[in-house]
Amino acid sequence: MKHLIPEFDAMRKRYPAGAESSLVLPCLRRIQEDRGFVADNDIAELTEYIGVPRIQIEEVLSHYTQFRRAPIGRWHVQACRNLSCSMRGAEGVIEQLSRKLGIAPGETTADGRFTLSTVECLGSCGTAPVVIVNDTYHENMSPARLDALIEGLPK
């Protein structure tokens, strides 16, 4: 993570003095964007950079569902399974994704191209069902749109 330190230094400017501890989440997010996951040495280096106890960073990593400690597929497909999405076809969406990718939720394809996850409410209930690919919301999913979405992703 050391190459990100100039970015972290810049980020600090809008925080109040003495709020170093606040940097844990934004730094971890940036590290994960950069590497794809948070590695052991990232934790050690971040502990040193921010000056918080290592346990605080470990706890954050285990508490928040978006942080990862291991690499995943190039395309992270996350399907919402909460109420409004389930009422508009989410169960079919998840089945179709499992069938099409040949994996169950929580798994990654052997070629490392796709990881499939189910997630709770994404705040997109009016345009349900919703699927997120990496960071991007894809709303109003139908079987045809879902096929087109997956097939349209670059290798």
């Binding site: 989440l25 605080q56 508009r88």
Partner: protein, 431 residues
């Protein structure tokens, strides 16, 4: 039409979220008036007099929260906008973040001035991508225009803002967990007292308001508290952004004036049940509010007193329409799976209770339910009520007890016949 509008007052276009368009709509003029002509306590007085209730779920009067902050007490104060919007069925704050980010920022600056806040935060859920990008771009526009930073408009008022992104945790929408998260820690709620307005972020007095609550501040200060009070009802002044989804013909975000007829809103403004079906019930304000049957909503108006009188609430404004033919047992299974997944694990009744309830409902849906399971679900719900630090344990119980009280026959049928009387249906056929 759903009554008078306070927020959705402009056409949404490809550029309506940008600073130039906001300025053309009169944006930042109220901030300028406040900084040049008003004292901080005058701003707080307007907001208090307006009677605006919190729009995040609890409906606590915003002015009373602000009133706890003591000016000139020599301590730093903090302001956080709660943009964690994670209550299932709720997507209304997204409308503000995507379409009116500068309205939120101007309101936060006015609030920061009123409460002597030097550093403000927006806590936004980690999954929100477009809302984050829109808001982040607006923050940069506002900094470049001199609305944030040192000595704003040449006055002695200075304010910085940070958009703090969550990372996937429902409980961080709870105010004390939210500040713990901004402190860079796991999002654990904490006991009160002390209230967060006494000891909040970094142990300093902190006001946390929902995005929509804050977005109303500019209008309240611009037009005065009395003008605001003329909209809505005496006990619920103003409007509510309602996000409506589920089995509804026209889902989306609607601005509803408090006091508007509830049935008219659902059947006329939102087009009624998807595919022309019949209404079974609604979740009025996020899944933690109790369901209301089609018959129950008929006499109701959309405001706090009316919904509370029916045993439910405005909650987070996240309304879910449920059509006749939907299996309430499987519906509750989705809710309990969610609560189990999101329990932070800090308090025993919630940590154990959510998992226990989830296992029971899974067992019922698998056809292995026991006759005592219904009472057991109710018993665990009651054991959670008021015994945990935050309201999540209570909320899961309200949802559970609410559904079982009104649809107990479906649970009894499922347990006795080992199958759903309604074929486990969650979706409705669209002709």
């Amino acid at each position: 039409m759903t009554g008078r509008k306070l927020l959705m007052t402009f056409p949404v276009t490809a550029t309506s979220h940008l600073l130039a368009d906001y300025r053309a709509r009169g944006g930042y003029a109220t901030l300028e008036k406040v900084l040049r002509q008003m004292r901080p306590e005058e701003v707080t007085k307007e907001v208090t007099t307006s009677g605006i209730l919190g729009h995040g779920g609890a409906g606590f009067p915003a002015g009373r929260k602000w009133g706890v902050i003591k000016l000139n007490d020599g301590q730093p104060h903090y302001l956080c906008a709660n943009a964690d919007e994670g209550e299932p069925g709720t997507f209304k704050d997204r409308w503000i973040l995507e379409n009116a980010p500068h309205l939120l920022l101007e309101s936060m600056l006015i609030t920061a001035y009123a409460l002597q806040v030097r550093n403000a935060f927006v806590y936004i859920r980690g999954e929100f991508d477009l809302p984050y990008r829109r808001l982040a771009a607006a923050v940069e526009e506002a900094y470049a225009a001199g609305w944030f930073g040192e000595r704003i408009l040449g006055t002695i008022f200075s304010c910085d803002i940070v958009i703090y992104r969550g990372a996937g945790s429902y409980v961080c929408g709870e105010a004390s967990a939210l500040i713990t998260s901004i402190e860079g820690k796991k999002g654990y709620p904490r006991n009160r007292p002390p209230r967060l307005t006494v000891r909040g972020l970094y142990q300093q007095p902190t006001v946390i308001n929902n995005v929509e609550t804050l977005a109303n501040v500019t209008g309240i200060v611009a037009h005065g508290a009395e003008a605001f009070r003329k909209v809505g009802t005496a006990k619920s002044p103003g409007t509510q952004l309602v996000s409506i989804s589920g089995h509804v013909q026209r889902p989306g975000v609607y601005e509803v004036e408090y006091g508007y007829p509830l049935a008219k809103f659902i059947y006329e403004d939102c087009g009624g049940v998807l595919g022309g079906g019949k209404l079974k019930c609604i979740v009025p304000g996020g899944i933690s509010t109790k369901v209301l049957t089609a018959a129950e909503i008929e006499p109701l108006t959309y405001d706090h007193a009316s919904l509370a009188g029916a045993g439910s609430g405005v909650g987070s404004g996240g309304m879910v329409v449920i059509a006749e033919g939907t299996c309430m047992v499987r519906l509750l299974q989705i809710l309990l799976r969610f609560y189990h997944h999101e329990s932070c694990g800090q308090c025993t009744p919630c940590r154990e209770g959510m998992g226990w309830m989830h296992r029971i409902i899974d067992r019922i849906v698998a056809g292995e339910g026991r006759p005592e399971d219904i009472e057991q679900l109710i018993r665990i719900s009651k054991a959670n009520d008021g015994t945990t630090i935050c309201g999540m344990g209570d909320a899961a119980g309200y949802a559970t007890v609410g559904i079982i009280a009104k649809y107990r026959d479906e649970f009894e049928y499922f347990i006795e016949h080992k199958r759903s009387r309604l074929d486990g249906r969650l979706e409705v056929a669209i002709p």
